[in-house]
Structures are given as C-alpha cells and as structure tokens.
Symmetry: D2
Subunit: 331 residues, 4 copies
C-alpha cells in the first residue's frame, strides 16, 4: 500500500482524501493543515493521523507520497520540502502564480529528478482522454483546430478572486493545459476579456469572461471561451477538428432521461453542476495514474514542466489583454 | 405533362392538389367533388377545371390519371370507374373497410391489369425509406424485430370515428403497411385495445389506443403502439432490429435549435405536429413515384394488393380484440 | 456497521460483495459457498470469513443481514433458514421458478413479518427511477402506455438456459417487475416468442426472443421486447407515455464523445455492454436501500410480494405462449 | 405578381431563379448574362426572356425588381444602374471588396432612398432565425458570448480564391453578418489565420483557416472559427450564450435515422453537404422577405448598410492578421 500524506484540507483536499481512501493500493497516512480542527476532521474520517506540522509529516519515513492541495502561495514551499524529504508529489495547479518562483523552485529541486505530478484533472476525464487518444491514433488526420468551451456555474467569492492571480492563471489554466495536451507546443497567444458577470470582480481588477486564441508550433489554431457564470451548470466541452474528421465531447447529463410535452421535446435535466460531479471519475483516474507512477518510479504526466507551460500561456494571455497584441511565446 | 384529375377536395385532397401543382411533369386538369363550391375553390387555386360529375371528368380523353381522395365509402366505385375509363389511379387508403368489397373490386378490374397505386404515404418518408433500403441492403443482417410507435396528436371528431371502420382500419392501417413493407408476409396477429382518451370514441364502440403484435412468415416479430392522442405532437417512430445492428428513425423537429438553462438542457421544440408537416416531403415523393410509374407504364408500389394486405391485418387485429386470441392470417 | 453475510460467490455474488465492501455503513462478515475455494477467494479479497456451512454463518449472532445470491433452486431454502435465524435478507431474483414453492415459502416465513428484499436491481437505475418518480409526481398526467426494450448482448450457455426456467422467468422477469413498478397491478398478459438466435436454445425447448403485451388494472397498456442477442450491446430502454407528456430513458454510453467524418456524423461508441457496466450504480443504490431498511426496520421495496408478482406474470406469459390467448391474472 | 429580372446565371443565380419561379407572388421576367447561352438556358427553363444587355432589361418598365447575382466586381455598377432605373434590388454579398467603392456607391444612390436588400441568406435559416428571435425576446437574458463555427466542405478553385478578396471578405463575411445580426455594433476585431489546407491558396497569398474574435459595443464577445475544408460536410453551427441560458443550432442531417452496431451507436449520416442543401429553405425565405418588402415599400433587412458593416469587419480582420493587433472599428 502506498502511504500518502495530504497537505491541505480545503474543498479540493477533501476530493483527494476520498480518492486516496477509495484506491485499492493507497492509504491516507497523514493529513496536514495549519487549522488543527480541519486536519483532525478529515484525518478521523479516513483513519489517518492529523498534524499541523508539515515537517513532522515529512519526517515520517513510511510516507511515500504527498498531495499538495493547500492554498496556491504555499505550493512551492511545500513541494520543495516534500521533494527534499524524498517524497513523490502530486501538486495541485497552479504551481505558483509567479513564473519566476516556479523557475526558482525547479532550480532548487530539478537536479534531484523528482517525481512531481501536476493536478490537471481534466486530462483524466474519460471523454477528453478518449479524444486525445483518438487524435493521437490518427483517427481525424492532422489536428487543425481545437475549440474549448469552459464556463463555471457561478463566480467564486470576490475575496478569492482578488488573490487568485486572475482568470487566466486561476481558471483558464486548465484550458491552457488541455490545449497543450492536444496541440503540443503553443507559439502565439491572443486574449480578449470582458466584465459582464460581477462588479466585485471588476473592482479587484480582474475579468469574468474571456476569449483566447492560440496557435501551435504545428500551425493549428485553438479557441478557448470562458465565463465565470453559466446559468445551466458546468459547461465543459471540447472539440478537435482534423483534416479527415472531428471529435467532440458534449456536456454530461445526470441520467439518460428525456421529456417530451406540449412545449418541448428531447428535454434533459441540466448538465452536471460543477467539478465534483463532472470530474469525479477524473480525480480517481488521476490518483491512480499517480499511484502507478510512484509504484513504478515512472515519470507521471502531466508533470512539473506541464505546470510551467500552462502558466506561460496564462502570462501571455494577461500580456495580450493589456496590450491588445498577439503575444509570441516559446523559444 | 401528365394530366391529373383529383376526386375529392377534403383535407387530403388538397394535399394531393398541391403536390400535383408543384410537380414539374404533372398538371392538375380537373377537380371533382359533389360539393360544387369545394371543387371550384380548389380548381381555381391551381388553374384546373371543376366538376360535380365524375363521369364527365373520366370522359375527358386527355386525362391520364386520377387521384381518388374522396370519402372511403366511395373509393371502390370511383376507382372501378376510373380503371374502366382507362385511367391510372392513385387511391387513398383504405380501398374499402370491407374485404369482400375489396375482393369484388379486384374481380371487376383485375383482368385489365390496371395501374393502381395505394396512398400509403409513409413508405415515401425519407427516414423510413432509408431504413427499408438499408435493411434490404443487409446492413443489419437478418431482420428480427420491428417496433412501430404511431400516435396522433388529437382524436378526430367522434362523427368521423363512427364511420371510420375503427382504429385498426383507419389509423393502424398505415402501421400494418409499414410492417409489411419491412417484414414481407405476416402470419400471426394479436391486439389489445384501450379506451383512455375519449368517452365519445368508446360510445361509438371503438378503441382509442392499441398494442398490436405481428409475426412474419420469416419468424420476425413486430410491435405497433397506437394512441389517438399525443400531448407532444405527431409521434412517428420506427425501429428495425437485426442480427448485426439496429436502425431507428426518431421523431422530427422543426429546427436544430437546443436550449440549456437552469431547469433543463438540450431541450428542443415540440416534434412536428401532424401529417402535413411531418409527411410533406413524403406526399411529394409519393406523387413523383406515381407520375414516373404512369410515364413508364411500370407497376407502382404500393399497389392494390398492398392495400388489401394491410386491410387483412386490420381485420385480424379486430378479430383478436374480440376473441383475445392470436389470429393466423394468410394461406 | 451492518454485518452482512453473502451466500453464493458466482458472478452476481461478487457484484454484491463489492457493493457491501464499498458501502460506508456495511461490512462483509462472512462469505458462504459450497465450493470452498470460491468462498475463500471472495472472503480474502474483502477481509471476510469464509465458510461452506450456511448454518454456521447463520448461527453467528453478530450477522445482521444475508444476501442470497446462490443458484435459483437454493433460494427458497436459504431464504427460509436465514429468516428463521432472524436475519434480514436481500434475495436475488427469482425467488423460485415454481409459484407453488414461492407460496409455500411465504406460508413458512410470512407470520414472522420478515424483512425480505428482492434483488430487482433495475428499480435502482437512476434513469428508470427518475422516470418512476416523475410519473408518480404527475409530470406526464395519467400513465397510459409503457414501452420496455430489453435485449442482452449474447445468449447464456445452453446448459444455463436448460435450467433457467425459460426466457420469461429468467430474463423477462426484470421487465415484468419494471412494468409492475410503473403500472401497479397487471390483469392481462399476452406473449409471442421466437427462435431466431440460437438453435441450442430451441433444442432445450426455450425461446430466444419475445414480445409481451400487458394491461394494467387501470387500463394502461405495456409492451416488452426481448432478445437474447443484441449486436450493439446491452439494450435497455424504457418509455412512459402519459396523457400530458412522455419520458424516455435512452441507452447509456461510455463517454460523451461523438465523431463526424465523411461517412457518418454524431457517431458514439457502442452502448454499455452488459449489466455490470450499465447497472453498477443501480447495484450500489440497491444495497444502500437494503442497508437503510435494515437500520430502520422499515419495509424494503421491492419485497417478497414483488418477487411473487413478477413470477405470476412470467407464468402467464408462458401460458399465453402455449395457448395463443390473452391470459387474465389476479383476482 | 412581382416581375423580377435576374442578373447573373452562375451557381447562385440559378438558386435565385428557382426561388423566384417557386414563389407564389413573383415571376421571372428577364434573365441577363453576358454569356448568351447561359442567359438563354436559365430563361427558357422558367419561361423568362433572355438578354445580354442589362440596360435593355432595366428599360423594361414592367420589371419591378432586380436580383444582382453576377460576379462581385460587377455588383456596384449593376446595383447603381438598377437603382437609377427605379428598381428594387436584392444584391448578393459582398457589395464590393473595396470599402471605398461601397461608400462611393452609396454616395451615388443613397439620396434616392433605394430599396436595396443584401443577400445574407443565413439570416433566413430557420434555426439561426429562431435563435435571433429568442435572444431578442429575452429568453437567455443578456447576450454575453457568441460562438460561430463555419467550415466549407472543400476549398474553391485557386483561381476563384485569387480574386475573391480573401477568406474574410469571401467566406467569413457571412459570419461577420451573423455576429452583427445577433450582437449589434462591433467595436473590436482580432484574427489569426492558418494555411493548413491548400498550398495553392497560400501561393495566392490567402489563408484557408481562421479564428476571429469580436467585441460588441455592449461588451459581449464572439468567436468565429473558419476552415476552407471540412471532411464531414458543411459545418454550420451557432451558439448564443446569455446570462440566464444558452441556445445552440446544431448541424442538420438529411434524415432522422440512427444506426447502432458492434462498432458504434446513435450514428447518423453525414451532415448536409453544402449551402444548396443546408440553406435551401433560407434562400426561399430570403426571397419571400424581399418580395414582401417590395410589395409594401418597406425597408428590407439586411440592407445596404448591413452589407457595408460586414465588410468593415472583414477589413479589420485583414488588418489584424497583418499587424497581430486587436483593431478598433466604428466611431
């Protein structure tokens, strides 16, 4: 059994705790959180030990792996200490909001060739993964265009937004990773933003909607559409258009029931509301990939470099938003 | 140009008038109806002559073909006279409600090897025809089961029902023909009926819902579900299940627009309401088949024998309803 | 924690073992099977004790509940002994193939007012349950017609078929229960069968396809279509047609991915292949219902009487198949 | 009857000829084309007079309206002469490739307050129009994002491309108009282009794929995705996302038939192949709008100003392609 320590007991931390508890070859050994009651609550739920001292947890030689699910500003520090303690790490996105800190982190840990996986859960969504696999298998010929639609059901609290690094680093980061997952290297970025949803978001200097265009090194184009609010739930769609065909992942519905009546037909329930419902299987598959990588000492995917690459695109999008120009990225 | 006389100016007569007027190789020459104002109204709309005297119309040697769209009790007489006058005939279903009269009609006209087509318009629906063609081409292997769902939006007036010959001869007759179209000969019939829609229909001794089971000579099974009322429009679906696959024709929608909101998703407008909307293209294709058959002197399909075969099944269903037994038909 | 003993380690037994192991308020205490290696294999997988002696298991006072998942001929005996031992019981369908034995069983145990639940898993399928709930809530007005399509991907071995009690008691029994779940009491049954799939099935005197028609006490009609073979997987659909609308549960797909190319569009992967995939969530929900009923001492649904009612319809269908008549059932 | 003269007998001219011939209140009076055989062929098909002299046609006082469907470079001249001759005009898009000539044209004819309609046929597609109407009716709240996917089945001949004005003025012009139709005034334009389809197109200095982003005066964002090649037919989709819901128009299929087999399920035929199939009803509705406008002397929509507005966006997109910058448009 892989012994796992969880760092951070917020919403996403609990998702990971449940995934670890449900995995046949992993167990939750420790739960760390500076808030003792939070650590104890999650620990007791899964029979783990609780601690408010990360170093004490890292000192436990029986711990194989650490999941970093704490607030973003703490990621680099905890990740670095975990790597130095010889643990494999699954780190939630983003590594950090500041690319300089990300690079400094890697300068610190890279020589150790650490096993670090990034928590881009959507790569493990069965529908998106199927598209990636079929594209890779050549089923639609050369990939020429990608369309990503990604809308959250409701905006986060303004307080969260203020420290989130902005829409591109907080929300679009997942879509940048999905684009990279399908397209490989990206060389150009353009973005337009909008403030249509929340005056509070505008007040803290962020946008709440965006359209981003990317060009890959191979010349393919990608579009990302974001909104912080979506009246019908969690809108998560992906289209890959190639020279010989097209693959599309539609939104997912809670059941297969359809209604017909005098006012409408083929009517389904609203789409799955948010990431816990939509990406539940993805979180479990993500953890399974991490566990397998640790067991085999294999390189996980996505890794630290993937986390950096998505942040580079987020930074480029932010620059494009300021300047109105297409921004070139990469070497 | 094929010169066509229309007998009967009711709802279905007007459908045929429009189809003839819109056909590039046919023209409406005469409109006959015992009600002079009706005949004149339709005739003037399409530049045809009007008459209340069928014999006068049949005496016009320039008329090539007659469409019999008058009330059912007049079909046999008008059909017989038209054949005797040397005209090709497209006769609305059913030929008659009484199989004895149908057989007597054929005894009277059969020797002339007349060109008589039956108005089973659904055979010309592009979706149903595609299923028939793909089944015939072997795309789903051996045909083993057929499911027909056929529901009208609202019951006809009780006065009409009283003289309609009953649900099986009036409404299910189309479904019997569709089953024969797909399955070939049928050897067993069972029916259950219900009275859930209209007390008036029950008062005149008819049913307003039914489930019919058929067995073909090849051993395949078919199910027909009927209702005289359907809250969401004209429910017309067909499923062909074979040894290697299945083909299904879903209901048809007015546009491709779908709505998503807080209460539902993928919601479409109601299905097409009734036969004028749903089967408009079928009526035009039916007429085109008739015109081509007359031009070439070829045997049309469906023909008189097809009209008789569907009536045989309707009679068997009525018998099964009375006796509760599976009824054998055919030789 | 509810302590559960599993009787029978075949395919369906293992489904239950996994569901118990995954339930937060239940644990697998014992695994009984006359084949010791089978009992030990499943027991060791979930940390339970193994036994080839059912009485020894029933003598364990710490066992709260028994799941009877052994071969059908042993159901009545094990169920009876478990009830006498004071255990709550979840019994797989059918109770027995012989209605006389079913009634004798109840005569033996009924006075104890036992907590016995029947394993009609499809009642717990989220889509079918949603339809039941919305019908009950009046969303489609009065329920008038039900259409059930139920086809297995491939026939079971002929050896199994020979002792299965026939298609109606082995396979259609689920559909009879679904019809009862939606319609309440049924008063008339008609059936036609076919032998199109497997000569071996015909040799043992059974059919491999069927169409069944039912009438409820309220006058609604239902149709069931069965086939022992379905080229495209496990075909499980349900339609409820009411006076003001219709609800339909379509087949379920592994992902939401659709393909468009030169030869087809909107093309999905094949439907989920068989019951383990399609009804996984249903088995878990079924167990949860059972656990909750035992915890509360509440009457589970479906119960023993539901198991008997479905068998009555299976017997009536078999009689209709022999006689070609509509068979009346019930008081 | 409205007497219509057709200028230009190419592919799109014949579409208009058929629409006029099929309209109950219009008739094709004249067909003009500098190629006499072409003019005569179309004229004889519909019983019209043929001419190679546009002035002669315009001199016919019985002609009410002119449809300009000639090559783009002739539009301004023919439109101007038709207006001077007092005719109502339906002019194919684009008015001209050069905004200066467009403005000069209006300077010449605007004082006459002419009845000029632009041939943006997609505004009359029943699905797109339904979306526009429901957006206008407030069904999805405030319109915030528009997604237009528009791909042609195959690139036009390189010779055509060389004189087409480029992708934005030739193909995207329709999508610009659709965006304006939904969003009203547009204030910002950004474009990226690609050359993935045809080396010949690259050789003549044009692109064969593009992604365009627009911002409306109200702050809404729109995305357009174009490709000159689409393996699965004519891809024409439209999504309107609002504060309370979303409307989407999917691609359209030739029939409602779906196939299920061992390798796929819910599989439909390819989408409608090109504009004659997809937009047939739109062309007829467009003509009907024109006829009604002429009859009533009402302002048609889209009009000359709409034609100019779409060209302004095309020019801005071309500038953005050159400069990599977001381009501001409008006052």
């Amino acid at each position: 059994m892989l012994r796992v320590a969880l760092f951070g007991c917020g919403r996403i931390g609990r998702v990971h705790a449940e995934a670890v508890a449900g995995h046949p070859r992993a167990e939750l050994a420790w739960v760390f959180d500076p808030v003792e009651t939070a650590a104890k609550e999650v620990a007791s739920q899964y029979g783990a030990a609780a601690s408010t001292d990360a170093d004490a947890v890292l000192a436990d030689g029986s711990v194989d792996a650490v999941i970093v699910a704490s607030p973003t500003p703490t990621h680099v520090d905890l990740l670095t200490r975990a790597v130095h303690a010889g643990k494999a790490v699954l780190c939630e996105k983003p590594i950090d909001l500041d690319i300089a800190r990300v690079d400094a982190c890697w300068a610190e840990i890279g020589a150790a060739d650490p096993l670090v996986m990034l928590g881009f859960n959507r790569r493990f969504d069965p529908s998106f993964r199927e598209i990636r696999d079929r594209v890779t298998a050549g089923e639609i010929g050369r990939l020429e265009q990608v369309v990503i639609i990604s809308r959250d059901p409701a905006p986060p609290p303004a307080g969260y937004v203020a420290t989130s690094g902005g829409l591109f680093r907080d929300m679009t980061i997942h879509d940048f990773d999905m684009a990279l997952f399908l397209l490989g290297d990206v060389v150009e970025v353009h973005a337009m933003g909008s403030n249509l949803v929340s005056p509070e978001i505008e007040e803290v200097g962020d946008i709440d909607g965006a359209v981003v265009t990317l060009r890959s090194a191979d010349g393919a184009l990608a579009q990302i559409t974001n909104s912080r609010r979506c009246a019908y739930g969690y809108d998560q769609r992906l289209e890959a258009f190639g020279s010989t065909g097209m693959l599309i992942a539609q939104n997912q519905l809670p059941t297969s029931v359809r209604y017909a009546g005098a006012e409408r037909s083929e009517s389904a329930a609203p789409v799955l509301n948010f990431f816990l419902q939509r990406y539940g299987p993805a979180y479990r598959a993500e953890l399974d990939h991490f566990v397998s990588a640790v067991e085999k000492g294999a390189r996980p995917s996505p890794d630290f470099a993937d986390g950096r690459a998505a942040l580079v695109l987020a930074d480029a999008a932010a620059e494009s938003l300021r300047t109105g120009r297409t921004v070139r990225v990469g070497g």
